[in-house]
């Protein structure tokens, strides 16, 4: 709510600007409503996945093309209430020296997430600050905010138009982070009109310049009409570095429970 009240002046400004548009026959907020609807339809397309487990390989590439890899297991517990985020557990498997390092997150919508880090060498569980939204996630081109769950109500939306994307047609929407400490002023997302999945996101930094592009590839459909991309490619236009996320097959509805996402289980993750 704090964020919304801070936004008030710009709402007044927008209303004033849209006064001009109104005369052209478009009522204020139509583009926002349409943008939200497209985002919501996409978000809700994977409702009911309950929980998932997936292995992931992360390939980090510098500007000279040198590669380093990390592998991890990602477990997610769906929280259906849209005013609360999902719970997730990431456990690293390689490089070998960080084997068993784990990150437990309870996503929130506008407040900072609750996060605990497990350090296996000491068997220590440490509650960590989650304000570092824009910081790199384990040395990759993904920021924490790109990696944590993309909750619908974390953004405001605006419809931009439609464009061909590969063999499909995509709606193009702009989304603006409503949470604090984001490294982005805005993101532009391409969401296809066939199965409503995100195909591409452009990220604009705090100065408004194009910072990164994320491509979602190799979508596969699972039981219940759940779609998942199996290759995510993030390219940083400023540094020339890139990070690919390569997912194995997902397992859904594995029976994970709330008790599998408590900080007390971190000491037993490996």
């Amino acid at each position: 709510m704090k964020v919304l009240s801070l936004k008030l002046p710009s709402v007044w400004l927008l209303t004033a600007l849209f006064g001009v548009v109104l005369t052209a026959g478009v009522y204020a907020g139509e583009l926002e409503d349409k943008g939200f609807e497209i985002a919501a339809r996409s978000d809700r397309s994977d409702r009911g996945f309950a929980d998932s487990i997936v292995d992931m390989k992360m390939v980090l590439r510098n500007a000279h093309g040198q590669e380093a890899t990390r592998s991890l297991v990602l477990k997610t517990l769906e929280i259906e209430d849209e005013s609360v985020g999902d719970k997730s557990l990431i456990v690293f498997e390689t490089p070998a020296d960080i084997y068993g390092t784990a990150l437990l997150s309870y996503a929130k919508i506008l407040d900072p997430d609750d996060q605990w880090l497990y350090l296996p060498a000491l068997k220590r569980v440490k509650r960590i600050s989650s304000v570092n939204k824009s910081g790199p996630f384990v040395g990759s081109e993904f920021a924490f905010e790109d990696f944590t769950s993309q909750e619908l109500n974390k953004f405001s939306y605006k419809y931009i138009g439609q464009e061909p994307c590969g063999d499909l047609v995509c709606d193009v929407i702009e989304r603006t982070p409503l949470y604090e400490n984001s490294g982005y002023t805005r993101q532009v997302a391409w969401i296809d009109q066939s199965v409503f999945q995100t195909r591409r996101v452009d990220f604009y930094d705090r100065r408004g310049a194009l910072l990164k592009t994320l491509l979602f590839e190799d979508y596969r459909e699972y039981d219940g009409g759940i779609w998942r991309a199996h290759t995510l490619k993030m390219k940083n236009h400023m540094t020339g570095k890139s990070t690919d996320l390569i997912y194995s097959d997902y397992a859904f509805k594995t029976g994970l429970k709330d008790s599998d996402f408590q900080k007390g289980i971190l000491r037993r993750v490996r």
Binding site: D114, K123, I128, S129, V131, P136, V138, G139, Q262
Partner: protein, 400 residues
């Protein structure tokens, strides 16, 4: 981490296990490290027997883990072995973990050797009471011997309860006569003295509640049993120190409040049974400057250490001390990090400096630098006997 089949020596075992009950068994995982570590002491030793300026160690620390395919049964076996060129007491073998864990729904039972870490502060780990310190490993109090235990845990909406039954006491390790970082006369670890008539067989118990409330994480425990910290008393002819272990009651509390980039931390204990009942605490803050240059984060740490014990309890170096430090994490592919800190006793100007740095080389090697320096200690003060034992340590470890 590698499935066992990749390791020829164990392949036959894996195959026969899989043959026995393929549906029941998950893969056996092998991880751990082999390392070479060298310490250089620039100053001449203070005491007889401590010849030389360097030592080199070989460390073997494999980790074997197995979990049943349903995840209900977990087994862990983690031996630890150090061979040291100088000090026979520093060469040692330990079982860090060797347990069977059974997971019910909202509860679990662990039987065997394990390590338990509870604290939140950085300069001292006051609340840890389950495991004995493996002091020959390092002075930082972060190396523990495996403790035999039965640990029952229940996870509830209102928090987590851990109950511990701890049979079999582990004695603290100390540097031998040839070793640096010791008192003027060495500790005779082979001649411990116990206040309890049961000696090493005294069965200790502990109970802990832990949970979080919004931004506040809390842990509260009670321990009754043989205290892990010995009182060191000279033998009759003053050639060695005998460690005396007393039966104690100890209550402990750890708190962390996490707000924005701030962590506010507190650890406190009250101990009865070693001289006069006393309390001790560590309290401090950690503030992180994110992406201070490029991707690097800089954490600033300040902690206050207070210990209310008098001469009737074992000596402590931290009666009223201040710790200040900073932690730099480059957030690069090699996970390069640097920690620099100092613990100062303002009343005597005794200071303990510490530097820790590490970086991954390629995918499997990690190089680690540690340096410790002691200044300002005068005869009679706690750190005086090790004041010429400044050292620089380099470790190269291959993880697998």
């Amino acid at each position: 981490m590698k499935s066992l089949s990749s390791l020829l020596g164990f392949a036959a075992v894996a195959l026969s296990l899989q043959g026995a009950a393929a549906a029941e068994l998950g893969p056996l995982e092998v991880a751990g490290l082999v390392g070479v570590e060298t310490r250089v002491f620039p100053w001449q030793a203070r005491f007889a027997g401590q010849q030389g300026h360097g030592e080199i160690s070989l460390i073997v620390n494999p980790e074997f883990r197995y979990r049943s395919s349903g995840g209900q049964h977990q087994f862990s076996f983690i031996p630890y072995f150090r061979l040291d060129s100088r000090d026979g007491q520093r060469s040692h073998f330990d079982i860090r973990e060797a347990y069977w864990l059974y997971k019910g729904g909202s509860w679990e039972v662990l039987t065997g050797f394990d390590r338990v870490f509870w604290g939140v502060t950085e300069s001292s780990h006051l609340v840890n009471v389950i495991n004995q310190l493996d002091l020959v490993e390092d002075l930082d109090g972060e190396d523990y011997l495996g403790q035999p235990m039965i640990n029952f845990t229940t996870f509830q909406d209102w928090g987590q309860i851990d109950l511990y039954l701890l049979p079999g006491f582990r004695e603290r390790t100390f540097a031998g006569r040839e070793g640096r970082l010791r008192a003027p006369i060495p500790v005779e670890t082979s001649q411990p003295v116990y206040t309890s008539g049961l000696g090493q067989k005294h069965v200790d118990v502990a109970a802990r509640y832990s949970h979080y409330f919004g931004d506040l994480d809390i842990g509260l425990y009670y321990f009754w049993g043989t205290g892990r910290e010995p009182t060191l008393e000279p033998n009759q002819d003053f050639t060695g120190l005998l460690p005396r272990y007393d039966v104690i009651n100890q209550g402990g509390l750890d708190l962390q409040y996490t707000k924005d980039a701030w962590l506010f931390k507190f650890e406190g204990i009250i101990r009865q049974g070693q001289g006069k009942t006393f309390g001790a605490l560590v309290a401090g803050v950690e503030y992180t400057l994110y992406q201070i240059f490029g991707a690097a984060d800089l954490g600033l740490l300040v902690e206050y250490l207070h210990d209310g014990r008098d001469a009737s309890a074992p000596l402590t170096a931290f009666e009223d001390d201040i710790f200040a430090g900073m932690r730099l994490a480059l957030n690069d592919v090699q996970d390069t990090s640097l920690l620099v800190g100092a613990i100062v006793d303002p009343s005597s100007s005794e200071t303990f400096y510490t530097i820790e740095a590490e970086r991954r080389l390629g995918q499997h090697l990690v190089i680690e630098l540690r340096a410790r320096f002691f200044t300002g200690a005068n005869p009679g003060q706690t750190l005086f006997s090790i004041s010429r034992d400044d050292y620089i340590q380099v470790r190269l470890a291959r993880y697998f």
